[in-house]
Symmetry: C2
Subunit: 554 residues, 2 copies
């Protein structure tokens, strides 16, 4: 059954300290913090940026997620005495004890975070978050922030792709908990796949903690645990309306089974009694939510017949059965046959409830098989996806990085021999340019001190894809992408629950032209540097900038 | 630096309830539990088995991990009032209120768990765990147990493969936290990759919580944050032995830099002053643990020269530098050049410390690049692996399943149209047969009531790979693979810490013949059913067994 959750406590700070203690970081963050402290630079104002270098899954877009957890993490960031004692045991014995006092007193009251809102469509190399504050502190935050953004954004983007592949009408159910990277991985997956466009999750805790609607009915083990109709208790059911005399539902069902077999020309001898017992006991427990899995033995020879018999008996008592689940074989082909039988029963026995039964399909669905399913004729209303959704089989990591761009108001740049690994220096502002049709067409990365681009005014910029040539564009509308999210130890924007962020995802995807949303070989979206930023990059690269730092003399 | 952790609290039950609350399960477990309860079958004794169908990564073996967390989960399994209230909001309104009282009183005091010890080499289709107890309870445990075993075993097996690919001498460092499936995924990865054969982790929390040795030194951001030698403070260092007068380490290093440039014929003009400042400040903070990353600009033109200069200055003051890290480009080629320069310095300046410097390599290492690295000439002593290790790129899920095999002492079997998805019925015992050379050669799955196979006595069995033909084998030794692990609410075996389980992994891998450990196209290991079990399967399949459950009459 699919029951929308009544709990919407997705905003609570529950267990963020438990999930992301400050020691959940790479040791080098701590060793660097000490070296900064030792040389007296730990309080220097520094700015880091978080971004990724390529859209995942060969796609044309990414969804930014994980921000809310980052904000809660910043708010709770503090080393306990126990943490500090452990660090003392790990760092070299000669480490100055005053450093540990410094660590004990640290928090994020000096940290400012500007970010693109969670659930926004974003692109490679656009800085999603800017983290500014004392050098040692913002360095210490790196690994945790990356960990919180990387998987959340990846799995949210994956869900959005499955959503696109499935088409708008089909409902999507996430059921990957057992295949995720452990318990918290599973919970994170359920939360962010819902945000990315899935309708339900099988994960009860995700319903409890984040208000994601939960769904689920029965496994094969329930079916195979029954062998005989003797095991069905109670054996009666009371009709919804009218007569309150308990009806022998077993007898009623057996009668319907005969008629169904006759209608379909099926052999009763191939029908599993245990399966019928399982369906009956389930229907007695859930007369208004009957949706069994019908492929434990054979859909055509047993499961479908047993379902129809029990469902017809329920209908006779004025209950409304929900449907069936198929969990193996060719889902499309089977769904057509199942629907044909439902229609036949509806006509032959005049039960209109059989016209609106739901067919759920679950069987190792990939993005590709989802897309194929959307193209082939079939009657599947709800698709359940597990492994390939939560583990992101196509590309199991996003590869976000966190790079230093400014220290003491002076821009910093990593010039790598691999040009893709070079960073863009300086503190920035990011604008999204919208065309006359309302489609986003270019993200412009500027220096923060520059005047923002204006609607209707031509702006020159340098697309990152081609390193030298300048282009001019005229936006119909300009959106400033990043907002202040955290300052002076406080979260400065209202936190959204999963439902709100989910709506944000869909509206943000709406602004993107379909050509960028094609799952295969999409047109790439343009990200460009402003002229001033491009000049700064060129100057630093030439070593001719004022920030030259070559050792010219010994 | 690499500091073995002083904390070995891997056995604590900390946060297992927080990590794996009883609601962290698929909704259908709860809906089935109610249906069992409603039909009065919830207390029936039932047995489930947990196993996987294929070794991961196309390999010949798997390592079983996650058991300890399963045991702690069983011990703490209990619904709170809040949990039950949430379930009440999700289940249909007509659900009998007495069911929620039943849930509130549930625990695992009636559950027995037999399992193969954690860290053992295991194979596809061998039941790793047998969970026996009241039907409704053991059904409710399914998702959580799968979630705890699936990723732990997968990433542990992946680590063991990287360990085999790397060869025995090289040290391995795990640094995947930022790319894992969220915080707990990262922590799980650090714990089980250590168990699988990695030596260190960068993850401090894994050191704190599980006693995994932690390691790490500096990132590129540390280097790029410096521009000038002016930023180095203090500018002096005191020699280890003898004279306590502070020495001007900057001056000393500049002198060494001149000599190094002269020795190598390098141009001082290409040396980054910021990088030198970063190295110097780091060396002053960690004079006994100096190991910088040397590729921020150019290894040959800047990083290596700066390292040698600082390290030679340290040596002059009787400190012992540790080595360097390479993080981009062709690691093998660069390591050879770096080693050549170290040897040259050692000879030319008579500093023996340069003979034992460590070279760490980290750059998007895959299993394949690790294997190539092991075949090519290189001088890398420590390899750091992140993304491909923790996300298991090659195959990001193991696919463990949990299947019902017995109810009320009667065997149960799922007969699927897909033969691989059929299950093996009945309660079992599992024996590992060892040959005269001490190598495991066959895992025998028997019915629990059968006499165990004996050393030196021929035993007939049916390998699972070929469905019909019988083979006879004579074991030199027989090991009973599974042990009682949990009964009457208590864990009945001593829990092992990560170090102990890590040793178990290596000794278990030792018993496996190398032909099964080949990373590509290994010989497959034989798993076989006993004659009696094979007969039972055949009977049930034919529908001719005593447990026939076809509906023969309406």
């Amino acid at each position: 059954m699919a029951a929308p959750s009544s709990n919407t406590c997705g905003l609570t700070e529950r267990s963020i300290r438990e999930r992301v203690p400050p020691l959940l970081t790479d040791l080098y963050q701590v060793t660097m913090a000490y070296a900064y402290w030792r040389t007296g630079r730990h309080q220097e104002p520094a700015v880091f940026e978080l971004f990724f270098r390529n859209n995942p899954f060969g796609g044309g877009f990414t969804l930014f997620a994980g921000l809310q957890d980052c904000l809660l993490f910043l708010r709770s960031f503090r080393f306990t005495d126990e943490d500090v004692e452990f660090l003392r045991s790990v760092l070299p014995p000669a480490t100055d004890p005053a450093f540990f006092q410094f660590l004990r007193g640290l928090d994020c009251s000096g940290v400012t975070l500007r970010a693109i809102p969670e659930g926004t469509v974003v692109f490679a190399r656009v800085p999603l978050m800017e983290v500014a504050g004392p050098l040692a502190v913002v360095q210490l935050l790196e690994t945790s922030l990356l960990c919180l953004v990387n998987y959340a954004s990846l799995v949210c983007s994956n869900a959005a792709r499955f959503r696109l592949a499935a088409g708008p009408k089909r409902k999507l159910l996430e059921l990957g908990l057992r295949r995720a990277q452990g318990p918290d991985g599973g919970l994170t997956a359920s939360r962010y796949t819902h945000i990315g466009g899935f309708d339900f999750t099988s994960n009860v805790q995700a319903g409890f903690q984040y208000g994601v609607p939960v769904a689920g009915t029965m496994a094969h083990s329930y079916v195979t645990s029954f062998t005989s109709l003797e095991e069905v208790l109670p054996k009666t059911l009371v009709a919804v309306n009218g007569d309150s005399t308990p009806v022998d539902i077993i007898l009623l069902t057996k009668g319907w089974l005969s008629r169904v077999c006759e209608l379909l020309g099926s052999q009763p001898g191939k029908i599993h009694e245990g399966e019928l017992a399982a369906f009956l006991s389930y229907a007695i427990a859930y007369p208004q939510n009957f949706l069994p899995v019908i492929d434990s033995f054979s859909v055509g020879c047993s499961g479908l017949l047993n379902f129809c018999a029990v469902a017809l008996a329920l209908c006779e008592l004025d209950y409304k059965p929900l449907g069936v689940r198929l969990d193996s074989g060719d889902l499309c082909r089977q769904s057509l046959e199942v629907r044909r039988v439902f229609r036949l029963c509806s006509e032959h026995f005049s039960v209109s409830a059989f016209d609106s039964l739901t067919i759920v399909g679950t069987n190792n669905i990939t993005e590709q098989s989802m897309a194929e399913l959307n193209e082939k004729e079939n009657e599947i209303d709800v698709v359940g996806v597990g492994t390939h959704l939560v583990t992101c089989t196509q590309q199991p990591s996003l590869g976000c990085v966190y790079k230093l761009v400014e220290v003491r108001a002076s821009p910093r740049m990593k010039i790598s021999e691999d040009p893709e690994k070079s960073t863009v220096p300086g503190r920035k502002a990011v604008y999204r340019l919208i065309d006359a049709e309302g489609h986003a067409f270019l993200d412009l990365v500027c220096l923060v001190a520059e005047a923002p681009p204006e609607a209707g005014v031509s702006v020159s910029c340098y697309p990152l894809s081609c390193d030298t040539s300048c282009v001019s564009v005229i936006p119909a509308q300009v959106i400033c992408l990043r907002q202040d999210m955290f300052t002076k130890g406080q979260v400065t924007q209202p936190l959204c629950n999963a439902t709100e962020t989910r709506a944000k995802v869909q509206s943000s995807l709406q602004t993107l032209h379909p050509r960028h949303k094609r799952l295969q070989e999409p047109d790439s979206y343009t990200v460009a540097l402003s002229e001033k930023l491009h000049t700064l990059v060129t100057e630093i690269r030439k070593g001719s900038s004022n920030n030259s730092n070559f050792l010219l003399a010994n």
